[in-house]
Symmetry: C2
Subunit: 378 residues, 2 copies
């Protein structure tokens, strides 16, 4: 190997916590394998430069059994390996190792020097509460849908939902810029409708259009939303990338709260022996990438998350992460009016309750159904 | 519900093929559930507009058992639901349903009207062969690594690899823009080194720097690569988004071949009952998003893909998809010189063989090791 300029890194490391599913005799080698795979990705014996082995390769900080054939490894990586880029930080945390079965990333901790490279959520829980002026109780969210409705019909829905007292009205995440419902017309009509309702109610309901879009159009859709008077944005980082969401969150000219939607991310968490824990995926990564609230399918709906997984998610959304703000968990995915009390008990007041279709299942008076939602969550 | 303008869509549909793992008695309901979840995401009984039920909701085209407790459902979605956006096409194919266990997307077919919205690979197999002027045999690829080497050391490596006859020299995907190896210096030095080697050998080796980067920096890094004389680009769509890769591929001012790397995508395919098949993930989606070659960990290396999964991947890279070009499978992930003959037998001549670390395991003369690689793959 060519003589390398000797490295002199800071020695500071960030920590990834993995669960490894394997036989006890293999655990140490598996942990060690992660250290190499996620950094040099090169046969360690062939690395002639001692500074690379000492300073670049991951280090097993601890390894302990946490279940039958399940081990928890804490691995430290040099902060310089992650650079100043979210894409590369995620790459070091779980890039190649995602391809090896039996490894799950269940948490990570960034030292101050690395965490401060991320502004994180612009609003977070406190900022979003201030925007809608709702305190001491859960915020209420719904979606305008179904796909196939015209912008006029969706705006009429948004108007009635806002009159009924909903705080956050988002596009269904399947609404993009289709011929039967163009983005610009929808956003202008819905933002106007919610503003009109706000003038009548005196409330500050926000409309959040979906700006998940081709790479070159995300920023322009977000600007159009801002110009039209939308109060926030819906974004699917699984479809368009975590870092694209970060760019939206960091845009000072935009300065809108972001609701993150889990589309195309489910595979990362559905198998407990692979991928990312709910706390990492929907909590920690969304916060690093600037989401102010994180939508997920709660236990008890039409998806399959357990109560423990939902608790882990809430922990990821609220655990200390440097100076990053805490964000709202947004339990949804088939929630119903008759479960609001139970959800409030489970999630407490610091959440956003999301009910979609069920608001339409209680008779033709949508405004009245919203008022029931408001009353039950009060 | 508000009176909706009656839809009048084309009636044309694209087809998604899912495997559903469930009891026989549940298969039809599960398939039907996908139709709704991926489109209106709304209780079907509450949809008062018949045109939405008829024209928007997915339709089960066929459903058949393909194994014990395993069913294959072909579901048709209106082309208009996917709009003209790759992000939204992926959303309809596997957005919310990714969150339900026991569903795997194993293929999709786009009608001409939808397929022609995607230019796909600019070069594909034939174009990439023309660029490096290598015909009738596999192309050879390696990576410059390990992380921790300086730009000078990496350029020296690249020079020797190119002298040895390698056709494609890529950055290790862990090289981004770190303080110990800045992007610009690395790319300028490595591109110059490969060009210098090409002048000596008369060959047309390409250097492909990694342009996986923050959303706002991908295009500028790619332009810098082009200006520096790099012959192609490495990109990780799992980290930065499939559509960001499509934007690179569609950039006529850039016009560089793209090698797609699977970092952070493994979770999508490691469990056979969830996520995306290898053919969809590494083949079809990469082609739609403009990759010219798709790196994956081959069977028999340090990862765990089976021979059947690798065959499925090759099929996805080469099956007819409208006018989209076929792309090269790039088996890697711990391949060794002593397996070249076996790999050539398995993948045939239309592949790119990727050997990384093992080129360094056969003594100090790297150029000679490359020549062995060339000879064995001949």
């Amino acid at each position: 190997m060519t003589q390398n300029r000797t490295l002199s890194l800071s020695g500071e490391r960030f920590t990834a916590v993995y669960h490894i599913v394997c036989k006890p005799a293999e655990a140490e080698a598996r942990a060690r394998d992660i250290c190499v795979e996620q950094t040099i990705e090169f046969p360690e014996a062939l690395v002639t430069d001692a500074s690379i082995r000492d300073q670049i390769v991951g280090q097993v900080l601890s390894l302990q059994a946490v279940g039958e054939a399940r081990f928890e490894a804490r691995i430290g990586y040099p902060v310089e390996a992650a650079g100043r880029e979210l894409t590369q930080l995620i790459n070091v945390l779980f890039g190649n190792i995602s391809i090896k079965p039996g490894v799950r990333l269940v948490g990570f901790e960034l030292p101050e020097s690395l965490a401060r490279q991320y502004r994180g959520p612009r609003f977070g829980q406190a900022g979003l509460r201030a925007l809608v002026d709702v305190h001491d109780r859960p915020l209420l969210c719904t979606a305008i849908k179904p796909m196939g409705l015209s912008p006029v019909a969706l705006a009429d829905l948004a108007y009635r939902l806002a009159l009924g007292g909903i705080h956050l009205i988002k596009d269904d995440h399947g609404l993009s810029d289709q011929t039967f419902c163009r983005y610009e017309e929808r956003v202008r009509r819905c933002a106007e409708a919610v503003e009109r309702a706000n003038r009548e109610t005196g409330q500050r309901c926000l409309y959040l259009p979906n700006v998940t879009a081709p790479a070159g159009e995300i920023a322009s859709r977000a600007r159009l939303a801002k110009d039209a008077g939308a109060g926030g944005l819906l974004f699917c980082p699984g479809l368009a990338g975590f870092d694209a969401m970060r760019a939206l969150a960091d845009d000072d000219a935009l300065a809108l709260p972001i609701l993150s939607h889990p589309a195309f991310q489910g595979t990362f968490c559905v198998h407990p022996d692979a991928g990312l824990s709910h706390g990492v995926l929907f909590g920690q990564l969304n916060r690093l990438a600037g989401a102010d609230a994180t939508i997920f399918p709660s236990w008890g709906g039409r998806f399959s998350f357990t109560q423990a997984e939902c608790r882990d998610l809430v922990a990821g959304a609220t655990r200390p992460m440097g100076e990053l703000r805490t964000i709202f968990p947004v339990p949804g995915g088939g929630m119903r009016l008759d479960r609001v009390a139970e959800l409030s008990d489970f999630y407490g007041r610091d959440c956003i309750l999301l009910i979609g279709g069920d608001l339409h299942a209680h008779g033709p008076d949508l405004i009245e159904s919203c008022r029931r939602f408001v009353a039950q969550a009060g």
